[in-house]
């Protein structure tokens, strides 16, 4: 069994808001759903599968499915943090391949900016989680968890702050063309390493934005996709995994992408060299660097050299990446950047990215994400898509 060519992404929508003081989270989910269904040329009556994760208000998928008054025969609320929505595309493709649904809706939304969230403030991620009593008292937040990965990678492989800064520089080059991006100003390596240290060795400009908003995707069966007017973007392969502390055999230099990536490439029957565009989750600059290595775009330890000198800038480097500006500059709705990774990959495959960042003849794209904390335990999901 495979999901290769069994499902298509027919609708994609990124909410234009970045500050939603005047909206509820449920409203944002529904507005995103409407946007993606309109994009596909479908209505809510067509939806028979619904996918969401922990950002959805209420119990699992029930409250949002009821809010939108959906009639469903397939529901899935897999939550592996920010990459959940990348996994949802694969799960939707599996369900479609098995005949469990034909039109699957995936939504994400949240308003952490309005609610004053900060990645520098420790928060309990489940009071009953077995790790909480050991780790929450340390003041582990989001930024210092990722910072420990950066510190170890620098120690072990000689990665530099300047090399990490190139990732932010590339994001800013792309964000300047995105009218919705939170941060549209070009930045330099010097500006990144000169910005205040938040958690050593990560600077303020190594960190993603905190934004309100959301996004939605519509994944459909092949016959549905062919009945619609949108360019055909099909699912070629997917992989998912997780990685933790391995009973105390902690290794912060690699991520679960070492498993999700090869699985996705094997199912798709392609290699990293074939990928024309990559969306890779950028909660922090270090997140990108470690994942690019683990996905096989360069050797382990060589990520610093790979990302330097504009190699991730569309039209300049070898691997056009996060051409919407990513989480570092554009949008990180609900503190979960997975769905925007798929949305920009779909834009690229359709030829609907901003002309200044559109990859010519972009027929093969990857979206990959991490959820939870790279520095303690995290999920990973990889998706490979092709334009037909």
């Amino acid at each position: 069994m495979t999901i290769k060519r069994k499902a298509y992404i027919a609708g994609a929508f990124e909410h234009p808001t970045r500050l939603a003081k005047d909206r509820s989270v449920a409203q944002l989910h529904a507005e995103c759903a409407l946007g993606a269904l309109r994009d596909a040329g479908l209505t809510k009556e067509d939806v028979d599968g619904y996918f969401c994760a922990g950002d959805a208000p209420g119990l699992g998928p029930l409250a949002m499915a009821d809010y939108m008054n959906l009639t469903l025969r397939h529901l899935d609320s897999t939550d592996v943090g920010g990459c959940s929505y990348i996994a949802h595309v694969a799960h939707a493709a599996e369900a479609i391949a098995m005949g469990k649904c034909r039109v699957a809706l995936i939504t994400l939304a949240g308003r952490p900016r309005s609610e004053g969230h900060s990645g520098a403030v420790p928060r309990v991620r489940g009071a009953d989680a077995p790790d909480t009593q050991w780790e929450f008292p340390t003041g582990i937040a989001t930024v210092n968890a990722y910072a420990m990965c950066a510190a170890r990678h620098m120690h072990q492989y000689g990665t530099t702050a300047e090399q990490l800064a190139w990732i932010k520089v590339a994001a800013s080059h792309h964000a300047q063309w995105n009218e919705h991006a939170m941060l549209r100003d070009l930045v330099t390596v010097e500006q990144v390493v000169g910005s205040p240290l938040i958690a050593t060795p990560l600077h303020r400009l190594d960190c993603c934005v905190v934004s309100d908003g959301g996004g939605a995707l519509v994944v459909v069966a092949p016959e549905v996709a062919r009945s619609l007017k949108r360019p055909l973007v099909k699912v070629l392969g997917a992989g998912e995994s997780m990685k933790g502390q391995m009973g105390g055999a902690v290794d912060l230099t690699y991520s679960a992408a070492v498993r999700s990536g090869p699985a996705a490439f094997a199912e798709a029957g392609v290699t990293p060299k074939d990928i024309k565009y990559a969306s890779v989750y950028d909660s922090f600059t270090i997140t990108v660097l470690i994942q690019l290595e683990d996905l096989g775009f360069c050797e382990k330890g060589q990520g610093g050299k790979f990302v330097a000198d504009g190699n991730l800038i569309s039209g300049v480097g070898k691997l056009p990446w996060n051409t919407d500006g990513g989480g570092l500059c554009n949008n990180h709705p609900a503190n979960r950047g997975g769905i925007t990774k798929v949305i920009e990959a779909v834009r690229q495959l359709r030829g609907e990215a901003h002309p200044k960042v559109q990859v010519p003849n972009c027929d093969l794209a990857l979206a990959h994400g991490t959820g939870g904390l790279l520095g303690s335990r995290h999920g990973a999901a990889t998706l490979i898509m092709e334009r037909e």
Binding site: A120, A127, P130, D131, T132, Q133, W134, E135, F136, P137, T138, G139, I140, A141, V143, N144, A145, A147, M148, C149, A150, A151, R152, H155, P196, L197, I198, A199, T200, P201, L202, Q245, M246, G247, G248, A249, V250, L252, S376
Partner: protein, 130 residues
């Protein structure tokens, strides 16, 4: 020395209560498996290496080295989170205290120190330069 961060009390449970009871006596325990012989972190009743239920508490040296460290600058009181690799093998998430934050380095030798927690909670295991 700057003011130290107030430490939240760990939310203990029946599985881990012996660790925190020993902590109140100043003893640092590790959980180890008598089936595969390995110590692990964080402590569990079921061994994360071989899934045996034959695990037991063992007193540990409290000596280790810094595997990785990050100094949180954007906080009311600057503090350092770290992973420390214990002499007995496992690597644990903790804090480094009683130190010059700017001088902390991976590979540095550290030793256990207990810190009080909020609301008369059990003391929490942290490390300082050895």
């Amino acid at each position: 020395m700057a003011k130290e961060r107030s430490i939240p009390a760990p939310l203990t449970n029946p599985e881990t209560e012996p660790f925190w009871a020993a902590a109140r006596e100043g003893r640092f325990l590790l959980r180890a498996c008598t089936a595969c012989g390995k110590a692990h972190w964080y402590p569990r009743a079921v061994c994360p290496f071989c899934m045996s239920e034959k695990t037991e508490w063992r007193e540990a040296s409290g000596r280790g080295t810094i595997y990785s460290v990050s100094v949180m600058k954007r906080a009311p009181e600057v503090y350092a989170v770290a992973y420390v690799t214990l002499e007995e093998g496992p690597t644990m998430m903790t804090n480094i205290v009683d130190c010059d934050f700017d001088a902390l380095a991976i590979g540095q030798a550290v030793a256990l120190t207990w810190r009080p927690t909020q609301g008369d909670g059990p003391p929490y295991p942290q490390f300082r330069p050895a």
